[in-house]
């Protein structure tokens, strides 16, 4: 009797598993870390009458979840995206298909794209493994009303002039402070401009850590910003940081003995923040609707870029034709991309669309400014040759030591030594200066 029951259970289980598997298989599986591809996928499904599944893995788990699938091939998607953070690692692995080869021949597209974006998808053998539709240069977003009040103008050109050197930034900081405003929410806002003054990779081809005076100047500028009270002590991505975009935030550090005639007010308002293109849509427009129209964007002392999403197809995908069609639509379809820009305000690396859109554009959130013009110009100054696979982690280690110094927990020398020793601990193959 028991045996019968057992056999029956096995049969039921088997049937269940078979039906579960055969249920409506998608024609294409796309994996990414945000839902921003959902709209393109809907469009693509209609266009080709196919079923595409978008699997979203949160950014924090993306690499650790997806990589085993790519390594083993089981459960790997047909198309997947990658962030700049690990892009350099991934294009060297056999994860993405080589798009330079026939029948894809994407090298033919090259001249239509911003150079740095295109180049970042090329691996050390010269093969394009991933492509991207966007470009992510950064700038300084500022509040027009505060600029008018303190600096007498809100013109991006004029403000950009003031921001074009570190000294200029500090001067504006002083003027802001005098009117109880703060230049930036936190010290991190100047970090892109320190290495930008003399762009060098963190690690050179000989696996040596490259340290320039300009890099080290981050210590001094950050300290100056803190000591002179040009920042609002609201670290990036903290609740206070978000709050600083909409109005006054609390500021009661009790520095009274440092500065006797300081405004006794325990509130202050932040003037500006360094953010890349996507910061406009995913940070400011999301979090600062109260101050919509009061913003503008201009240049900092040097060009920089932050973030960016690349896409490619899995090397062993069984649906390569369709996968390539999807990638082609996402990065190389003029009609689709024009709609996409209008919808999202994304800044594209694809010139044929950007040239059309940028002409005569004006963004209400930015008080009518044409940020496309501005960002395209900034993007063209970016040099991607200094990007290494170590950037994210080494930047983080460096930033930590800078804040330890700014907080007064370590001296400058101690902080630099600690930084070196942490780099070696993380990457034993890298040699650091003595």
């Amino acid at each position: 009797m028991l045996k019968r029951v057992f056999q029956f259970a096995v049969v039921v289980l088997g049937v269940f598993m078979l039906t579960a598997c055969s249920e409506d298989e998608p024609d294409l599986i796309v994996t990414s870390f945000t839902d921003e591809l959902q709209a393109p996928i809907d469009y693509f499904e209609e266009l080709h009458d196919v079923k595409v599944d978008l699997q979203i893995i949160p950014t924090e788990n993306y690499v650790n979840t997806l990589r085993p699938a790519l390594e083993s091939g089981s459960g790997a998607p047909d198309v997947f995206t990658g962030e700049i953070v690990y892009l350099k690692d991934w294009i060297e692995q056999d994860y993405w298909e080589n798009l330079s080869q026939a029948p894809y021949n994407v090298d033919e597209w090259r001249s239509d794209y911003m150079e740095y974006v295109w180049d970042l998808g090329i691996n050390s053998s010269g093969e394009v493994r991933a492509v991207s539709w966007q470009t992510t240069p950064g700038g300084i977003y500022y509040r027009r009303s505060i600029a008018n009040e303190v600096l007498g103008t809100d013109d991006p050109q004029a403000i950009g002039e003031l921001f074009s050197t570190m000294e200029g930034l500090m001067e504006v900081g002083e003027q802001m402070k005098a009117s109880n405003y703060r230049l930036f929410p936190d010290e991190g806002s100047i970090s892109p401009y320190t290495n930008g003054a003399n762009p060098q990779p963190w690690v050179n081809d000989n696996d040596e850590l490259v340290i320039t005076d300009e890099r080290l100047a981050y210590f001094d500028y950050a300290k100056e910003l803190r000591d002179m009270q040009y920042t609002a002590l609201a670290p990036a991505w903290s609740p206070a940081w978000y709050a600083s975009f909409t109005g006054p935030i609390s500021y009661n550090v009790g520095w009274d003995e440092l500065d006797e005639d300081e405004d006794p007010s325990d509130q202050t308002e932040v003037f500006a923040v360094s953010l890349p293109t996507w910061g406009l849509h995913s940070v400011l427009k999301e979090e600062a609707q109260e101050t919509a129209g009061d913003w503008a964007v201009t240049n900092g002392p040097t060009p920089y870029f932050q973030g960016g999403t690349w896409i490619g197809m899995y090397k062993d995908s069984e649906n390569k034709d369709l996968a390539f069609e999807f990638i082609k639509m996402l990065v190389n379809d003029q009609e689709f991309l024009t709609d996409w820009v209008m919808e999202t305000g994304d800044v594209l690396s694809y010139y044929p669309v950007m040239e059309g859109v940028a002409a005569g554009y004006s963004d209400e959130f930015l008080g009518g400014q044409n940020h496309y013009d501005f960002f395209i110009e900034r993007a063209e100054e970016i040099d991607a040759s200094t990007v290494t696979r170590y950037d994210q982690q080494i930047d983080e280690l460096f930033g930590n030591q800078v804040s330890a110094y700014v907080e007064g927990n370590l001296t400058r020398e101690e902080a630099i030594d600690e930084f070196y020793s942490q780099v070696v601990n993380a990457y034993p193959q890298i040699t650091v200066p003595d």
Binding site: D94, P239, A240, I249, S250, N252, N425, A426
Partner: protein
């Protein structure tokens, strides 16, 4: 007889298969990883066999020692505070003289912090402990307890204490329930006899409660050690995940995680895992021996 045996094997097979696949195999695979410089990318066959190099590095790695002592400090403070609260409350609620009411309600209330997701707890406390905008500083300033805000999460001592105390707050309810169950299991006759004989509260605590509670205390201590040595989530989430400030929140498992998943040193991370394993075994063994020393 023989047939029965075969059926028994069939019944334990699911467990054995799962155990071999998901416990034993990974343990040996990790041992193998720890002898290589595997980066976690491109298959283990591309890694070089490096013998005991990783273990040599582990013994001279000051970040590992830092992580070890951080972990011990955080666990130690956490355990002491947690046990004081839990034991105190358990005694209070089990006292035959006091006969407190509403124990069911309190048991649930004390246990509540334990069922909140750690991510939420970390977010909550990082907002509370924020230097310039956080609730704790604002409150202490307005009460006049401090005259300038304290940068809690930027000071190694405060940051470690914060993690330890948050842990104690989360876990005292759990220990409370276990200890209360243990105390309830002690026969009331002992206490009544002691009461008649004129024993003080302290005497009955020292000569009845503690000796009778020993197995429970041992259980709580060992599970706490094993859990405490693996502390990861709070230090990871409360600051930047790198162990800031100044490595004060760099615990052993956080260090392992960062070596494996941030820096792609899978081989070395596997070595750290073995280091952690031996430390946990050693601590449990020491605890066990000390607790039972007199009885043997």
């Amino acid at each position: 007889m023989k047939k029965n045996n075969r059926q028994a094997y069939l019944f334990i097979a699911p467990f054995v298969i799962v155990f071999l696949t998901f416990n034993i195999y990974p343990i040996f695979l990790t041992l193998y990883y720890s002898l290589t410089n595997y980066s976690g990318m491109g298959g283990i066959d591309q890694a070089d066999f490096v013998g005991f190099n990783n273990y040599v590095r582990l013994f001279s790695d000051r970040y590992f020692y830092q992580a070890f002592f951080n972990t011990i400090r955080i666990w130690g403070l956490n355990f002491v505070v947690q046990m004081l609260i839990a034991l105190g409350l358990a005694l209070l609620f089990s006292d035959i003289r006091l006969k407190l009411k509403g124990i069911g309600l309190f048991r649930a209330l004390f246990y509540l912090p334990n069922i909140i997701t750690i991510a939420s707890v970390a977010l909550l406390f990082s907002i509370l402990l924020d230097w310039n905008h956080g609730g704790l500083n604002q409150m202490m300033l307005s009460l006049g307890l401090i005259d300038r805000p304290i940068n809690w999460l930027n000071s190694p001592v405060y940051a470690q204490s914060a993690v330890a105390l948050i842990g104690a707050w989360m876990w005292f309810g759990n220990s409370f329930i276990v200890l209360l169950a243990g105390i309830s299991g002690i026969s009331k006759d002992f206490y009544e006899a002691a009461l008649i004989d004129g024993a003080t509260w302290l005497q009955s605590f020292k000569y009845i409660t503690i000796p009778q509670l020993k197995p429970i205390l041992l259980y709580v201590l060992i599970t706490s050690i094993i859990g405490g040595l693996q502390i990861f989530d709070l230090p990871m989430l409360l600051t930047d995940g790198n162990g800031s400030p100044q490595g004060a929140l760099n615990t052993m498992v956080l260090y392992l995680y960062n070596q494996a998943f941030k820096y792609n040193n899978f081989g070395y991370a596997a070595t750290i895992a073995y280091g952690l394993f031996f430390i946990t075994v050693a601590f449990s063994a020491i605890t066990f021996r000390t607790m039972y020393r007199k009885q043997v």
